[in-house]
């Protein structure tokens, strides 16, 4: 069987090497592209990203990638947004003024609370390994988290969080300062991970492997 092909969107933000290496480690052949036609033709698409929301949306818009990503998501092509790439899936973000997102999963990106639930100051950004908890009653069966166990830890670096308006789109949360922070969201065949699966050891690789097989 040929290697699963994964198209990683390169829109000039962040270092794509780790994402590429992680996917290759899972047996995928990776195509890095900023061409909307290649995104439209892709079998599976990863939207990575670090940095500021508005810069990322500007870059996607200038490259003509916004409609391409919206189309493939609507068509049911597997799409994985990582970190900022997850936040971009939502309708809008509060970061540096209100900015429209891709609108694939309804919801809004807001700042992580600067105080814990006990009202103590907490460190922002949220950096480090944190445990995945089920969000509400959602099951991880038949999702990217199928092979992950409750409580397994993954690596986060972020100051904002992507909050879907429909709780049914929340798959997993992590707890930071007592607050529930969406860690994995999903709708149809679109999935978003707030953490970096390519930096989360074997747990992250299980998620990438599942995506390669989707």
């Amino acid at each position: 069987m040929a290697n699963p092909e994964i198209t990683v969107i390169d829109y000039g933000v962040g270092n794509l090497l780790s994402v590429q290496r992680g996917l290759e480690h899972c047996g995928a052949s990776v195509l890095l592209t900023s061409d909307p036609a290649q995104v439209r033709a892709a079998a599976r698409v990863v939207l990575p990203g670090v940095g500021a929301f508005s810069n990322a949306m500007t870059a996607l818009r200038e490259l003509g990638l916004v409609p391409a990503i919206q189309e493939i998501a609507a068509r049911g092509t597997p799409l994985l947004g990582i970190c900022l790439g997850m936040q971009l899936l939502l309708d809008e973000s509060d970061e540096f003024g209100l900015t429209a997102g891709l609108g694939i999963i309804p919801g809004r990106v807001v700042a992580i609370p600067v105080r814990t639930v006990q009202q103590e100051a907490q460190k922002i950004p949220h950096i480090g390994w944190n445990e995945l908890q089920p969000a509400g009653t959602s099951s991880w069966q038949k999702t990217m988290l199928e092979d992950v166990m409750f409580g397994e830890a993954v690596y986060f670096v972020h100051s904002f969080m992507a909050v879907p308006s429909d709780p049914a789109h929340r798959l997993a949360d992590c707890l930071y300062g007592g607050h529930r922070i969406p860690a994995v969201i999903g709708k149809g065949r679109t999935t978003g991970c707030q953490f970096h699966p390519e930096k989360s050891g074997e747990v992250g690789l299980k998620i990438l492997r599942r995506f390669c097989a989707s």
Partner: protein
């Protein structure tokens, strides 16, 4: 509070993993690739590569070591030693590093901290500080791997570095480094009490219980370990278990 991070520190000279005492008297330990992979397989939370002669001779062997590690190691990697410019940072990040640690060049040009933070984000800019005690509760910043004094007070420099955009502090006690005498707790405490960004305590971990002390009393957010791992005096799993049993938040692994 986030989990405490367990970090393996790999000091590099040329192609070799080395270890010294007070950052000097360097001895070859082995292959950085083999050690890094072993620590990854044991469940290390992060890796820290420091090229200990790069800033002295103005060369950098690290890119190849990092590029090779990035093929089969999937935890965050911080790389330091000889990074003098945004271009140097860009090339080491392209090789697969997630963060850069900068000491000497940041002291020479504090604006570099801001430039790196602005281009890659604060989470990417680790301010590396080599500290030597110069009086009661006073420490001085050293550069060039503990060789050159600067006359700068460590706590003042940390505050300035954070306001310039450093997202994390790597705090190495030159006095304790390689001595196995335990961390310089007052130094770590002096820094963690002044800044809100995460602080990695480095230098002096002789036994597993030293970690408990620097986290509880020093309030370190992460602990860099070298000698204790390189010479196999303890494994990552054993250290993690001890921390967990002592009630510290560490990531669940395995």
């Amino acid at each position: 509070m986030a989990n405490i991070r367990l970090i393996a520190r790999l000091d590099i000279k040329g192609a070799n993993l080395i270890k010294g005492v007070h950052l000097e008297g360097l001895r070859v330990v082995g292959s950085p690739g083999e050690h890094a992979l072993r620590y990854y397989q044991q469940g290390i939370d992060e890796l820290l590569y420091m090229d200990c002669v790069a800033s002295l001779y103005g060369r950098n062997h690290l890119a190849e070591i990092v590029r090779s590690a990035a093929k089969d190691i999937f935890v965050p990697m911080t790389v330091g030693g000889g990074i003098r410019s945004v271009e140097d940072a860009t090339s080491i990040l392209r090789a697969g590093a997630d963060k850069v640690a900068i000491n000497t060049a940041a002291v020479a040009n504090p604006k570099l901290i801001t430039e790196v933070a602005r281009k890659f984000g604060s989470q990417c800019m680790v301010l590396s500080i080599e500290a030597k005690q110069v009086g009661m509760d006073r420490w001085e910043v050293y550069t060039d791997n503990g060789r050159e004094r600067t006359g700068i007070d460590v706590v003042d420099w940390v505050k300035r570095g954070v306001s310039n955009g450093a997202g994390e502090i790597l705090l190495t006690s030159v006095d304790r480094e390689g001595t196995r005498k335990g961390f310089d707790i007052p130094l770590v405490r002096a820094v963690t009490s002044e800044v809100s960004v995460p602080v990695i305590a480095s230098g002096g971990m002789g036994k597993t219980t030293d970690l408990l002390e620097v986290v509880r009393d020093g309030e370190a957010n992460a602990v860099a370990m070298a000698d204790i791992l390189h010479y196999g005096r303890a494994g990552v799993g054993e250290i993690r278990t001890l921390a967990r049993e002592a009630g510290l938040g560490v990531r669940r692994y395995g």
